[in-house]
């Protein structure tokens, strides 16, 4: 029997959050953590979490699994369960709405702040803007981000300054546009990031790299932005 422990909190009825324990029979199968949640919800329909695509691309079901942030739908039990225990908590550092559902407004606000859309000051041509496969490849490792918030909510700098530090997810996207050969707003983008908090609160702890369910490396992207900022200053 797998011992499952789930963080529960309903602001309408609970003074404080608590951990609720369930016994779960996997019948020897290596299920995904989301499958376990779905089956527990069939038992107790008040268990609350977000989910949709169940294939790791919509970014809905980021949670903290046995102490590490990840997507419930692509985390198999075999990758996380040790000593027969599965502990599921909401993503840390964000206000809890209910159970495993967190308020992501601050996370989204930082994303929107970096103006995550292509900016090009030349008139749009009648055809496509050309981009060589090599230039297109510069987006690899950046443009796959699904905005699940696993990285930013594992980042101590983001915990401390969620209003001022853009955080790993937002900065990864900032660099995605800085790296795009079709974007001409490099200078404006850097100017908006050029303060003590937006980028420089990153202390290279690399929790973001450790947890990213898509295998991306925000720390490296942040390093590139720092280099661009410092090069520009000299």
């Amino acid at each position: 029997m797998l011992q499952v422990s789930i963080y529960r909190y309903n602001p309408e009825t609970d003074q404080q959050p608590y951990m609720e324990d369930f016994e779960f029979d996997t019948q020897g199968r290596d299920l995904m953590v989301l499958d376990v949640l779905e089956q527990l919800k069939a038992r107790d329909s008040s268990v609350t979490y977000r989910r949709s695509c169940r294939e790791g691309v919509c970014g809905s079901d980021g949670v903290n699994i046995n102490g590490k942030n990840g997507l419930a739908c692509i985390t198999p039990l075999s990758a996380t369960v040790r000593k027969n225990k599965l502990v599921i908590r909401p993503l840390p550092g964000l206000p809890v709405v209910r159970d495993l559902v967190v308020d992501m407004s601050m996370f989204y606000a930082q994303y929107e702040k970096i103006q995550p859309f292509l900016q090009n000051n030349t008139p749009a041509p009648a055809i496509e803007r050309l981009q060589t496969p090599e230039d297109r490849a510069k987006l690899d490792g950046l443009y796959e981000c699904i905005l699940c918030a696993c990285c930013s909510s594992s980042c101590p700098s983001f915990w401390w300054n969620p209003d001022r530090f853009v955080g790993p997810a937002g900065l990864l996207q900032a660099y995605r546009f800085l790296a795009d050969s079709r974007d001409t707003a490099t200078d404006e983008r850097l100017s908006r990031l050029d303060d003590p908090f937006s980028v420089f609160r990153c202390h290279g702890i690399q929790n973001c790299v450790n947890v990213c369910p898509k295998g991306l490396n925000p720390t490296r992207a942040i390093g590139h932005i720092r280099t661009m900022l410092l090069t520009r200053a000299t």
Binding site: N10, P11, E12, T13, K41, A42, D44, S45, S46, T48, Y49, R50, R51, S52, C53, R54, E55, G56, V57, C58, G59, S60, I74, P76, V97, R98, D99, V101, M104, Y108, E112, Q115, P116, F117, L118, N120, A124, A126, I127, E128, R129, L130, Q131, T132, P133, D135, R136, L139, Y143, E144, I146, L147, F177, D180, R182, D183
Partner: protein, 597 residues
């Protein structure tokens, strides 16, 4: 609120409300904002836009771009692919505007895959004579959705209500005058008066047990319109995607075959050559409209026959055939199909570089939907519908892969412009005039939240999904279809006896799942009855036992299902035929013969 009081309603006003934040809804919002920057546009969605199911589309997005291709060829492929049930004026408009929309996405930052010279690359896709499928690796929908969402952030006139669940359309003087929604965060019933409402809520394949769709794809918009007397059209046409993972139903894109992947049965034989799709093409050399690049309906039907003949593989997750990519080599798989490699590793423990992926058909796409004219307007003034929830007349009896992503942009823009034109003529009605109705509606939803009957949500949902698979699946047998119609009616009765456990107003997913189940049951009813009424075989609707042939004399018509007290009412609408007269559909060598002058 005390028991017996009228529920509290928060009232808002906007010029345009868009329900659904996927590709179609976002494109409509941008078009409306560009058409008239003075308009207040409210985009309402039950999820944050990036979670919408457009995100999971993999293979690509159609649009003629090669010099040796033509709009006529795209038109012909679409119309024959749809088994002549497409409205040809709509198809013409679509093929004329698909490429400009794809280019606009490029200008907005969509990271399309490129050729060596930096121009757009295109790949082969099922049922398409010439390569015209634009792609961004194998995450095309993901990148289109992100590009549209990002672009929408540029427009200050687009406001968002994320995680609001739309429960009702509100009518006034015979027109749609707004919507009502539940703010999921605190359960507040919210009414939004608006001059124009666009439904862009996506499909409904969650009525089936095995499907490629996310949990949120529950036919909400279709049910909202259906309940207000708007017809659902061509609902019997449900696309089974031939390659989903057994067990979960997770999608393995058609691009895997476009890149040269092949399907084999338990004898290692490429069985599609036995189903009018041959001759066998050389390994790794995908040939348009042959073999693995035949249309989806034919491929799914071929699987059914193979399984029946005992030539499917038995896997721990059910019957399957093999999708073999090994001959493509690791480099090409990583460049073109990286997500597919991930999915196969994660869900069936197969590395596509070294082993074939087990696949089987799973419910994927609803060709039908809310009836609209070619300008996305429904019969209810002020209400528009676009994308998978709508039936604009593009896909006929079978959709070609990569036409639906292009549809989102082409008709999303039309919907946004049409709604903007209507909203520019005058302000929304005063929300106070809608208040009494909103309170009635809210009281109904509140009693659902408090429901204490003996029926279980999951039980009804499972029985529905099984019944749809049995009676409205790849092949439809007369007795089973009747049983399915009866079963859905029974389940609708039992739904009224539902009991819920969670009484909270805060992010009450059980309550919302119950509302979704009500929507699914309405959609399932429309599908099952339309299927029973269409006494022929066409495209994805196949009745091999009682009506195995296409019958143009009687059924070259769209079905219309209207909600009625007991069983729904059926009606028919002529198909618009402009320049392509119905003919037989041919693929493989037979198709080649036919296309010669």
């Amino acid at each position: 609120m005390n028991a017996g009081d009228a529920p509290d309603i928060r009232a808002l006003q906007a010029d345009i409300v868009i329900v659904g934040g996927g590709g179609a809804g976002l494109r409509a919002a941008i078009a409306a904002a560009e058409a008239n920057p003075q308009l207040d546009i409210l985009l309402l969605s039950k999820v944050y836009p990036m979670r919408s199911h457009t995100v999971a589309a993999e293979g690509g997005c159609a649009g003629v771009i090669q010099l040796h291709d033509s709009l006529d060829a795209h038109f012909d492929d679409t119309v024959s692919g749809g088994d002549w049930l497409c409205d040809q004026d709509v198809v013409d408009y679509f093929v004329h505007h698909a490429t400009e929309e794809n280019l606009r996405l490029e200008h907005w930052g969509c990271p399309w895959s490129r050729k060596a010279d930096g121009s757009i690359n295109v790949r082969a896709f099922g049922g398409m004579k010439i390569e015209r499928t634009w792609f961004a690796a194998d995450k095309t929908g993901f990148h289109i959705l992100h590009t549209l969402f990002q672009t929408s952030l540029k427009y200050p006139s687009i406001r968002r209500c994320d995680e609001y669940f739309c429960t009702d359309l509100l009518l006034e003087d015979g027109a749609c005058a707004g919507v009502q929604a539940i703010d999921m965060r605190n359960g507040t019933h919210t009414l939004i008066a608006a001059s124009a409402v666009i439904l862009a809520t996506g499909g409904a394949a969650r009525v089936y047990r095995y499907n490629t769709n996310g949990g949120i794809v529950t036919g909400d918009g279709m049910a909202l319109a259906y309940r207000q007397g708007v017809a659902l059209r061509d609902m019997e046409f449900v696309q089974y995607h031939p390659t989903g993972l057994p067990g979960s139903g997770i999608l393995i894109t058609e691009a895997a075959r476009g890149e040269g992947g092949v399907l084999t049965n338990s004898d290692g034989y490429r069985y599609l050559q036995d189903y009018g799709l041959g001759p066998e093409t050389p390994l790794g050399e995908a040939c348009n409209k042959y073999m693995e690049l035949g249309p989806r309906d034919r491929l799914s039907q071929a699987f059914w026959h193979e399984a029946k003949a005992g030539r499917a593989l038995a896997t721990s997750r059910g019957e399957a055939v093999n999708l073999d990519l090994r001959h493509l080599g690791e480099a090409r798989i990583n460049e073109r199909l990286p997500f597919i490699r991930d999915l196969a590793r994660t869900y069936v423990n197969v590395d596509a570089v070294h082993e074939p992926i087990p696949v089987r058909p799973t419910a994927h796409y609803t060709m039908g939907g809310i009836q609209t004219d070619r300008h996305t307007a429904t019969a209810l003034p002020g209400l528009f519908a676009v994308g998978e929830c709508a039936s604009v007349g593009l896909h006929g009896a079978n959709r070609l892969g990569s036409n639906s992503l292009a549809e989102l942009s082409v008709f999303g823009r039309v919907a946004g412009e049409q709604a903007a034109a209507r909203a520019s003529q005058g302000p929304a009605v005063d929300p106070r005039r809608l208040l009494a109705r909103a309170q009635d509606n809210a009281a109904g939803w509140e009693s659902l939240r408090e429901a204490r009957g003996g029926e279980h949500l999951a039980t009804i949902r499972d029985e529905m999904a099984r019944a749809m698979e049995d009676g409205a699946g790849i092949f439809r047998l007369p007795g089973q279809m009747q049983q399915t119609c009866a079963k859905i009616a029974e389940l609708k009765g039992r739904y009224r006896e539902l009991g819920l456990v969670d009484r909270s107003r805060v992010f009450n997913t059980e309550w919302l799942n119950a509302i979704e189940l009500g929507n699914l049951l309405d959609v399932a009813e429309a599908m099952a009855h339309a299927a029973l009424a269409r006494k022929e075989s066409r495209g994805s609707h196949q009745r091999i036992e009682d009506f195995p042939e296409r019958d143009d004399a009687q059924f070259l018509r769209h079905s219309l299902v209207y909600r009625a007290a007991d069983t729904p009412r059926l009606d028919w609408q002529d198909v618009v035929i402009t320049r392509s007269q119905p003919a037989e559909r041919h693929y493989g060598a037979a198709g080649q013969q036919e296309s010669k002058p």
